[in-house]
């Protein structure tokens, strides 16, 4: 878990216990130890000079003063270093005895500042330091160095308050979830990522040292009563009416107070799930009242070995140095404290299942989904709702959440698109139909501005004009009814029907006919014209052969017609262009990235110039050839410029 543990030492009792615990943890997690001591040599030097005038008269003689200054200089420059060294030698000996890697550090400067700077510029994942230093007195709660370092750093910090023998402190507690004196771990969970990270750390520590872990959460239902009572005394009668005080109070009682309990209970339930994932048994306790006060009471009563808290709470701004509850508890609790600065956000599904409520209508809509989609829909809605701070899923939330990923047709199928949308769609009629050239999405009854599936712009949407297609029919002879492969009757113009009939091979003819009819039905066109047949077969070639020799069509024409159909089927549609397979393969040989993209654009331009949307191998070859030529020219030009520069 921890790989590099940092301990600032000062030879105080708290510091010695910090080293002891650091050794225990480093052994457990095979971590490296770093010890440091800060001494303020310059400050001492300055102070000494300030106090020189207070020396007895015998020192205030020129030679004597110089001598004393030299003695003091030696003390400052070497003595403090020696003292620091001796502090660290103790830690080094402990580390070596335990077979641990140790790195000593000494710095000259204001202690809290140099320590914080070192922590912030190093990769320590845990800092262990004493709550109090050498200057502590009877009523000291927390030392200034400890407090200032905690405020200035963002690394997990374990603050030592318990000075009992460390072997006793880290002993397993075997009495189930009930704490023996100084044995278990309590984690304060408030739903913040810091507190959940603290929980995970506590679970690991619990596993390592065989300790029980208990998650507690405190919510304050009384704050709102206090707020309302203070407001009611200052409001005028008129203002009270505007404020609707009684209604507000009732709302707060019913929603906020009960809601708060649910929210904090849900944090604990999420904590249990996190522990279950770690295969760890976690006791949970919900407390009501002022958070720091209730937690303090609980800790005083249960006497855990360690209290774990997030450095900042769920309501804190991320830029805050320390949360107010954490700050109070850090000062007041009698046990060791671990401030978690790491962040862990439980899977949204886990959080949502514990906290999200569905209204009956929303639940009814969800129940319409088949089993395979129900869970996914629920997760999707939960994620969307939680990201926006909802705690209740209504139909409106459901509609907006699923609307981000479901097409309108599915939304209507679920009955979660408002009736007026459906009505507008029906009233608009089917006169206009647009098909997306990229993905095939169809819009009927309105003119879309873009494809709702792939977001292709309007120019990629092709309008199907039934009237124009059907208007060609009278020019192509009589209308003849034909039965499709699945026994549906469709109409052909005489010309279109003759071309289809002219395909000699029975199998190929049926194949081409089925394809033409399928296209017509997809577009909801009842009448098949010559132009529609031409989309599938090479009409010109077949017609030429028909004219040449009635009833004696050569195999070549049939092959051509079939090949045309097969090739069309194999082509790849890319935007407005249709690429033949060999064209696609050739383009794929061009180096990926800028070169391929530029070549592709050039080829599409060539197709535009030729007035076709079909891109075949020849077009690609031409585009590649132009590209190579341009590249050669560019290289020549660059070489020429380089030659000029060299001269």
């Amino acid at each position: 878990m921890y790989k590099k543990i940092f301990v600032p030492v000062d030879n105080s009792e708290h510091s010695v216990t910090s080293v002891d615990l650091a050794v225990e943890l480093a052994q457990a997690y095979d971590a490296e130890l770093v010890g440091s001591h800060a001494y303020a040599a310059r400050l001492h030097d300055y102070r000494f000079k300030q106090m020189e005038f207070t020396l007895p008269d015998e020192y205030l003689i020129e030679e004597e003063m110089e001598k004393q200054r030299k003695v003091h200089d030696t003390l400052i420059t070497m003595g403090l270093e020696l003292i620091s060294d001796s502090y660290l030698v103790v830690m080094q000996a402990r580390a070596e005895k335990a077979g641990l890697q140790f790195q000593p550090k000494m710095y000259d400067g204001k202690n809290f500042k140099v320590i914080a700077d070192d922590i912030n510029s190093s990769d320590y994942d845990l800092v262990i330091m004493g709550a109090l230093g050498l200057g502590a007195v009877k009523d000291s709660q927390i030392g200034s160095v400890c407090e200032r370092v905690v405020r200035r750093t963002r690394t997990d910090t374990l603050i030592i308050k318990n000075l009992a023998d460390i072997k006793d402190q880290v002993k397993p507690n075997t009495n189930g979830v009930d704490h023996k004196d100084g044995s278990g771990i309590v984690v304060a969970v408030d739903g913040s990522p810091e507190s959940f990270a603290g929980l995970k750390t506590a679970i690991q520590l619990g596993k390592t040292f065989g300790k029980t872990v208990e998650a507690i959460s405190a919510y304050d239902p009384y704050l709102h009563y206090a707020m309302f009572n203070s407001i009611v005394h200052v409001l005028t009668e008129k203002a009270s009416k505007v404020f609707k005080f009684q209604e507000q109070e009732q709302l707060h009682e019913e929603v906020i107070d009960t809601g708060l309990a649910k929210i904090y209970q849900s944090h604990l339930e999420v904590a249990v799930k996190i522990a279950e994932e770690e295969d760890f048994d976690l006791k949970i306790t919900l407390l009501d009242g002022k958070a720091f006060e209730k937690i303090l009471e609980y800790v005083r009563r249960t006497k855990p070995w360690l209290l774990v808290m997030g450095r900042i709470g769920v309501h804190s701004d991320e830029t805050m140095d320390i949360g107010s509850n954490t700050e109070n508890l850090l000062r007041l609790v009698p046990c060791n404290v671990l401030l978690s600065s790491q962040r862990f956000t439980p899977a949204v599904d886990v959080q949502a299942e514990s906290s999200m409520i569905w209204t009956e209508p929303a639940q009814r809509i969800l129940d319409r989904a088949p089993d395979f989609a129900k869970g996914i829909a629920r997760t999707t809605v939960h994620r969307w709702a939680m990201e926006r701070g909802h705690s209740v899923v209504t139909v409106s939330v459901l509609e907006q959440a699923l609307g981000t990923i479901l097409p309108k047709s599915s939304m209507m199928a679920m009955g979660i698109i408002a009736d007026d949308v459906a009505r507008t769609k029906i009233e608009a009629g089917d006169d206009q139909t647009w098909v997306c050239g990229n993905c095939g999405w169809v819009a009927r009854g309105f003119e879309p501005q873009k494809c709702t599936v792939c977001s292709s712009p309007k120019d990629q949407l092709q309008k199907l004009d039934k009237a124009a297609i059907e208007g060609l029919a009278p020019l192509e002879g009589a209308i003849i009814e034909e039965q499709s492969f699945d026994k549906v009757k469709l109409k052909y113009t005489a010309e279109a029907r003759a071309i289809v009939k002219a395909i000699p091979d029975g199998y190929q003819r049926r194949r081409a006919k089925a394809k033409i009819e399928k296209r017509a039905r997809v577009r909801k066109i009842d009448l098949i014209t010559r132009a529609m047949v031409a989309e599938v077969v090479d009409v010109t070639e077949i017609e030429t052969l028909m004219l040449e020799e009635k009833g004696e069509l050569g195999q070549r024409a049939v092959d051509a017609a079939v090949d045309a159909a097969t090739e069309t089927e194999r082509n790849t549609r890319d935007g407005q262009y249709s690429w033949t397979p060999d064209a696609v393969a050739r383009l794929a040989r061009v180096p990926e990235g800028f070169m391929r993209n530029a070549t592709k654009r050039r080829i599409e331009k060539l197709a535009d110039t030729a007035g076709t949307d079909l891109i075949d191998l020849a077009t690609v070859e031409e585009g590649v050839k132009i590209g190579l030529r341009l590249m050669e020219e560019a290289i020549k030009k660059k070489n020429a410029e380089k030659g000029e520069d060299d001269q």
């Binding site: 989609a373 996914i376 999707t380 097409p407 309108k408 999405w441 599936v453 039905r521 997809v522």
Partner: protein, 112 residues
């Protein structure tokens, strides 16, 4: 495994789409499913090591949801009659596709 299943399902969806008349509400649903699977296929065929598995999951979720919340039989427009391709056969096909996509999603989730 995933690219093969996706390619198979994309071509299957294409065939199913072709069988449906343009005004059938299920057609756009199939378009959306096919489009999402196309995006997913591009991801898994690309540099999968660096692929964003969250976006893969989103594509699959969207596809499965679209298949799950499909228009009811009563809403469908019966053009050219109901055949095995557009009736119960299609429904079974769509359920099977959803099952297979669910399987792919489950496998991908294990990689996350």
């Amino acid at each position: 495994m995933a690219p093969s299943v996706l390619k198979l399902e994309i071509s299957r969806l294409g065939r199913l789409m072709d069988r449906l008349p343009i005004e059938d509400e299920r057609r756009n649903m199939l378009v959306a499913v096919r489009y999402r699977l196309g995006l997913l296929r591009d991801v898994v065929l690309g540099d999968f090591e660096t692929a964003d598995l969250e976006s893969c999951d989103e594509h699959l979720r969207s596809a499965i949801l679209s298949l799950g919340f499909r228009p009811d039989a009563a809403d469908r427009v019966a053009v050219a009659g109901t055949t095995a391709a557009t009736g119960a056969g299609l429904e079974n096909n769509l359920d099977n596709i959803a099952d297979r996509l669910g399987y792919v999603r489950e496998r991908l989730r294990r990689l996350r």
